[in-house]
């Protein structure tokens, strides 16, 4: 079954293509403008970094939230305009952006919120139906949006970004290839006695020669318990992952669930694998892997436009002996783009009706992340990214294998 999956992914692999950054920005702007016009939205005021990146091309940064909120690029998109406004001093953002530039406004500071109100009035005038993603305390105090009719920015950005352009798919595939390439040397240093932080440090070091400028998540190398009862207590009664807590020393035979994400031109990767410390898989672990592959094949078989999320959930569950093969607090699959998890979400607690109503369309991206758990043996979890196409699907990534599991 492992060989079947490997062949299936290889057959559908998307070849590496050149990314046209100007076209990427232009097409996104057009999609966002169209969605704003369709919904009668006058202005989008964007503070959340991935939204700013989507609207303007301003790169996201691999920095702490506290830095990201103070030293914060802000985007204003006005319906009908050719270019977005970017409120950000030039430092480091490169000359290539097709934006109307304004000085940084510091929306976290009271005086900054006043500056923001001034720019907003200048560029958007009295138009009053505003899509916004975050309102800082300073913006509330300054009454920046007090007269406006507000809606969540995701209501316009969400539909705009749901189906990716060719350049967007190229960015995701490149992010994934670089992430996977950095994992080769990283996995080589996993041995009994090594700390999680040392493995993470190696991964961060490996990103540098692969040209990755922003790491998006504290790299996860989480040794998993064999039984749910031996792990952290959860509200779901299921497995706790990813906790991001502590700095465990990896021990021989540990099953380590790996999860990382890096940025390429504003787009996220998502690398998921299960490693074993210092050993080859035992027959029980190999069985988990085989079943994971079987679930993947069942989901990918026939995947394409017109297929519903509900159908994918049912195929996955049937291939796992009628047990749901994903974590109940997550999903069977999630979208990926400027956010590391975005629509479409499939298999969440939004429920079966939501999944049935979610119909795949060309350009949608899915990160499939089934989990096979057998209490007492442990679990196998890995992730693969696919894009829905006119005639089926394509695999995004390099075809990274599943060592030490073999097919």
């Amino acid at each position: 079954m492992g060989a079947d999956l490997r062949d299936l992914l290889a057959k559908h692999r998307e070849p590496s293509t050149a990314i046209d950054v100007r076209r990427l920005h232009r097409e996104r702007h057009a999609k966002l403008q169209a969605e704003m016009a369709r919904q009668g939205v006058d202005v989008a005021l964007l503070l959340h970094a991935p939204n700013v990146a989507y609207a303007t091309g301003q790169p996201v940064r691999g920095i702490d939230v506290t830095h990201a909120i103070y030293e914060r690029p802000v985007a204003i998109v006005v319906t009908g305009e050719d270019r977005p406004h970017l409120l950000w001093d030039d430092a480091g953002s490169g000359p290539g952006l097709d934006v109307e530039r304004h000085p940084s406004v510091w929306p976290e500071l009271d005086e900054g919120a006043v500056l923001l109100a001034g720019v907003l009035a200048d560029v958007a005038g009295s138009r009053d139906r505003i899509a916004v993603d975050e309102i800082t305390g300073a913006m509330q105090r300054a009454g920046v949006l007090s007269d406006a009719s507000m809606l969540e920015a995701t209501q316009v950005i969400g539909p705009a970004k749901l189906a990716k352009t060719a350049d967007e798919l190229g960015c995701i595939a490149e992010a994934q290839r670089r992430n996977e390439a950095a994992m080769v040397a990283t996995q080589a240093m996993v041995r009994p006695g090594v700390r999680r932080s040392e493995v993470a440090g190696e991964f961060l070091a490996q990103l540098v020669p692969h040209g990755v400028e922003a790491n998006l998540i504290d790299p996860i190398f989480q040794p998993m318990p064999r039984s749910i009862a031996d792990g952290p207590r959860t509200t779901t009664g299921d497995v706790a992952f990813p906790t991001g807590v502590g700095d465990p020393v990896l021990a021989e035979r540990d099953l380590v669930w790996v999860d990382t994400g890096v940025d390429h031109l504003g787009y996220a990767s998502d690398f998921g694998r299960t490693w074993i410390v210092g050993r080859d898989p035992d027959p029980g672990q190999q069985r988990l892997f085989e079943r994971w592959c079987a679930v993947m094949v069942a989901v990918l078989d026939g995947l394409g436009p017109g297929v519903s999320g509900g159908e994918l959930c049912r195929a996955a569950t049937a291939a796992n002996g009628d047990r749901r093969p994903w974590l109940p607090h997550f999903y069977l699959a999630h979208g990926l783009g400027v956010e590391s998890a975005e629509m479409p979400l499939i298999g969440t607690d939004l429920g079966p009706e939501f999944d049935d109503n979610l119909v795949l369309a060309p350009g949608m991206v899915l990160v499939l992340e089934p989990v096979i758990w057998e209490d007492g043996v442990g679990g196998y979890r890995a992730e693969e990214i696919i894009a829905v196409t006119e005639d089926g699907w394509r695999h995004l990534g390099s075809g990274h294998a599943y060592p030490p599991f073999t097919s």
């Binding site: 702490d64 506290t66 976290e108 500071l109």
Partner: protein, 328 residues
């Protein structure tokens, strides 16, 4: 309960009382870590606002956290005060409605806001006024506790290790990429795998600017220096010993001006012509005050603050964390 967690929590609840807040809803990772001690997975950059933590002051100071598991949750927070990750607004609404004291609240503070949460709050607590409380948390965090200073010192020591590893790599003749990779390995070997600011190893002419800001145990440490790549062989020379480094003198003037009671205006006057500079608070990351040539004229330096002070003169970058009141 750890004394640090207890002390911070008491500060936050006292500040809620003083501000007349029945409930405080927090969405930001740093706010939550400060108020509760909750350790959670670090992700880069901003997150959309959501009710990830609810502090109820009115009914005996209880803490409720968005977490599917108890890993990273301080032991003083009961398991039934956790509500799990959900994608379903109805599930989230039900979880929040079940928090004693929230539906009856009259005044709810938030550390940020989204249009969606503003509408949800109006349904959840119909009698409540929703008010910004980012400034309440900010004030609480401004003056550091002695234990917090230890955390900042430890994190700064890690940044120093990153700097040393990068310089050593440069001295061996390697370029900035290898130096940055070496810094990552060195800092991670001491448990620091997440940055606060973006790591900097940048060639500017014959200079190499280096700056590392890391989070360790939730506190930020940082250090910025510039090395001169000597003409012979391109080897790096530590700038501390470099008499040609003009940032030493500029930093001395700026640091001398960072006294209790000094305003941003005073600091601006003390800047001896660097091309770029910033003075800002540091603690659980980037904090106020923020003083540059464009913002913070009226901001006031207080005794007990920790400041990140940086200057750049002719490409020579320098950044130090300092504690106002005593050496850090």
């Amino acid at each position: 309960m750890s004394s640090l967690r207890a002390a911070r929590q008491e500060r936050v609840f006292d500040a809620m009382d003083a501000a007349g807040l029945d409930v405080l809803v927090l969405g930001r990772r740093d706010s939550i870590a400060y108020a509760t001690g909750h350790q959670s997975l670090w992700t880069a950059g901003t997150r959309p606002f959501g009710a990830a933590c609810v502090l109820v002051g009115a009914t005996g100071r209880s803490t409720h956290l968005l977490s599917t598991w108890d890993a990273g949750v301080p032991p003083e927070i009961p398991f039934d005060h956790l509500y799990g990750v959900t994608w379903n607004p109805a599930v989230m609404g039900a979880a929040l409605r079940g928090i004693p004291g929230l539906p009856e609240a009259r005044r709810i503070g938030v550390d940020a806001l989204s249009p969606g949460f503003a509408r949800a709050a109006a349904r959840l607590a119909p009698d409540a006024e929703l008010v910004p409380a980012d400034d309440v948390l900010r004030d609480v965090r401004t003056v550091k506790l002695p234990v917090e200073l230890e955390g900042i010192r430890a994190a700064t020591a890690i940044a120093g290790l990153g700097f040393a590893a990068a310089v050593e790599t440069l001295e061996q003749g390697s370029g900035p990429a290898n130096a940055l990779a070496a810094a990552h390995r060195a800092m991670a070997s001491r448990g620091a795998t997440v940055p606060s600011s973006a790591p900097l190893v940048r060639r500017v002419g014959s200079l190499m600017q280096l700056d590392f800001g890391v989070l360790l145990g939730g506190y930020e440490g940082g250090l910025g220096r510039t090395t001169h790549l000597g003409l012979a062989g391109g080897k790096a020379v530590p700038s501390q010993d470099d008499p040609a480094d003009p940032s030493v003198e500029a930093q001395k003037h700026l640091l001398a001006a960072c006294r209790p009671g000094a305003t941003g205006r005073v600091l601006r006057a003390a800047v001896r012509p660097p091309s770029r500079w910033m003075v800002r608070g540091s603690g659980v990351g980037f904090e106020p005050p923020v003083i540059t040539h464009t913002v913070g004229a009226d901001a006031v330096i207080e005794n007990g603050m920790v400041l990140s002070v940086e200057v750049e003169v002719d490409g020579w970058h320098r950044r130090d964390l300092v504690h106002i009141g005593e050496p850090l």
